[in-house]
């Protein structure tokens, strides 16, 4: 007898409204999107003993910075390693596993805070939470693609938009909870971790309970698969191990890595960058507002660009990202020299919308190229490009800026070389995207059906 968590028990009955599935996916992605707001805990965690200021035995910001880095590393690793399991186990089991890992990660970290053991935070939020991030990120993707064969970009864009939106919720929520729990002997971070761990576990579990997969023969009412699919849209399927050995997988890996590298470095340095490029004109509070604005465009871009890709095609969408990105990055130094702050803000808002759009459009691109059979597992392996870009982007931006300052370049112009390097990275991404061709038919899966993999 199949258990409540098994895939067979999640098959939707006839007449089920497919628009109930995106909220289930959003419940997971809005929760794990908290990762982007983890930095709100860094300062309070560095004052656990001293409370009002860091004591000698308190953890340093450098030590604490590793928690987020480990989590992102394990996001990529777990998505790659557990991708096939997520496909075979189905979305309900996978989402629940993600809830246990992510919620449990907070609770193990809370234990680490109470015992003042940093390794428990590395293990809790970093390793366990990171696995929750990876499994949670890929778990609803193939399900949504199967529910929306007519609009795969819009469907996955909606879920992945949640990952961007999660930080917008978590940042003010963390601050409010820490304010609520703080006392003369505690800055409230321990209680906040416990509360958030329970809250996220419950929210993600609701998503796991609600999620449904379509029956194998289900089609949207009135929808007929196109008789002549577009050149890059396959009706065949490719297994994950086979896909991993095709040039198409690695070209898309480069496409994602370059797009993310160009955006992630800027996102991390947005506040000092605007203050240094417009010295004396932008306060720290206004710079924080700039970061908030970029987060909004990052989130909105996920839904808007991914939905647009359903109409103009995936390859064309990335051509827009790369060509427009190169033009914008190339013009930023001139905009800075001209002192046009509105131009600067608009340029980076568009760049960040395309950064988010790149994340949200890639699952539908993978589905076009490799079919739906194991798209979640293939997506999981492709996310290693994100982990790579997570290191590459900030290192490039920080290192190049420092190198320029060390050579005596004024701070306002220290980013010029960085912008041109970003143009070069985007050009590499553009070439990889232009080289995309359909997968050779010898790689196609010979089995029948869609694999029933949820």
């Amino acid at each position: 007898m199949p258990s409540f968590l098994d895939r067979q028990r999640t098959v939707a009955p006839p007449g089920y409204n497919r628009f109930a599935v995106p909220p289930a996916a959003l419940a997971v992605h809005l929760s794990i999107g908290q990762a982007y707001a983890f930095s709100t805990f860094n300062l309070p965690l560095s004052k656990l003993i001293g409370i009002s200021k860091s004591a000698p035995d308190d953890w340093t910001l450098v030590q604490l910075g590793w928690i987020f880095s480990i989590a992102i590393l394990f996001l990529g690793l777990s998505a790659a390693v557990f991708g096939r399991w997520v496909e075979s186990a189905g979305p309900r089991k996978a989402m629940l596993a993600a809830a246990v890992c992510f919620g449990g990660g907070f609770l193990v970290s809370a234990l680490g805070i109470s015992q003042h053991q940093l390794w428990l935070l590395y293990l809790g939020y970093g390793v366990l939470g990171g696995c929750g991030l990876g499994i949670g990120y890929i778990s609803p993707v193939s399900t949504l693609i199967k529910w929306f064969p007519d609009r795969p970009g819009m469907a996955t864009g909606m879920a992945i938009m949640g990952f961007g939106g999660g930080a917008l919720i978590a940042a003010p929520l963390s601050v409010k909870l820490m304010d609520h729990f703080k006392s003369a002997t505690s800055n409230g971070v321990l209680e906040t971790f416990v509360t958030m761990g329970i809250l996220y576990f419950v929210f993600m579990t609701i998503g796991a309970i609600v999620v449904r997969v379509p029956a194998d023969d289900w089609r949207p009412a009135g929808w007929v698969p196109p008789s002549q699919p577009k050149k890059l849209v396959t009706t065949a399927n490719v297994e994950v191990h086979t896909a991993f050995a095709t040039p198409q997988f690695w070209l898309l890996w480069i496409v994602l890595c370059m797009n993310v590298t160009a955006g992630i470095g800027v996102l991390g340095q947005a506040s000092p960058m605007i203050q240094e490029m417009f010295t004396g004109r932008v306060t720290a509070a206004a710079a924080a507002g700039f970061v908030g604005l970029l987060s909004l465009f990052n989130m909105a871009g996920r839904f808007i660009w991914a939905s647009t890709s359903d109409y103009i095609g995936r390859r064309n969408t990335y051509i827009v990202f790369f060509v427009l990105g190169i033009a914008l990055y190339f013009s930023v130094p001139s905009i800075g020299r001209a002192g046009s702050m509105p131009g600067f803000v608009i340029a980076f808002a568009v760049i960040l919308s395309m950064y988010g759009g790149g994340f949200a459009t890639i699952p539908a691109y993978l589905r076009d190229v490799f079919g739906t059979l194991q798209v979640g597992a293939i997506h999981g392996r492709l996310l290693t490009a994100w982990s790579t870009a997570g290191v590459l982007g900030p290192v490039l931006v920080n290192y190049l800026r420092q190198a320029q300052i060390d050579r005596g370049v004024p701070k306002a112009q220290a980013y010029t070389v960085t912008m041109y390097i970003m143009c070069a990275l985007l050009l590499i991404g553009l070439i990889a995207n232009l080289l995309m061709r359909p997968v050779d038919s010898r790689h196609h899966y010979a089995g029948s059906g869609t694999g029933g993999t949820g």
Partner: protein, 33 residues
């Protein structure tokens, strides 16, 4: 019943998202002050 469940689900995820967006927008407005 299905419609009601659908509405409740969207409210469940929509309210925190809108709350977060408004808080962020409030913060973003400081750029233009």
């Amino acid at each position: 019943m299905m419609q009601l469940r659908l509405i409740l689900l969207w409210i469940l995820v929509g309210i925190p998202l809108i709350w977060g967006v408004l808080r962020t927008l409030e913060n973003a407005m400081k750029l233009f002050q």
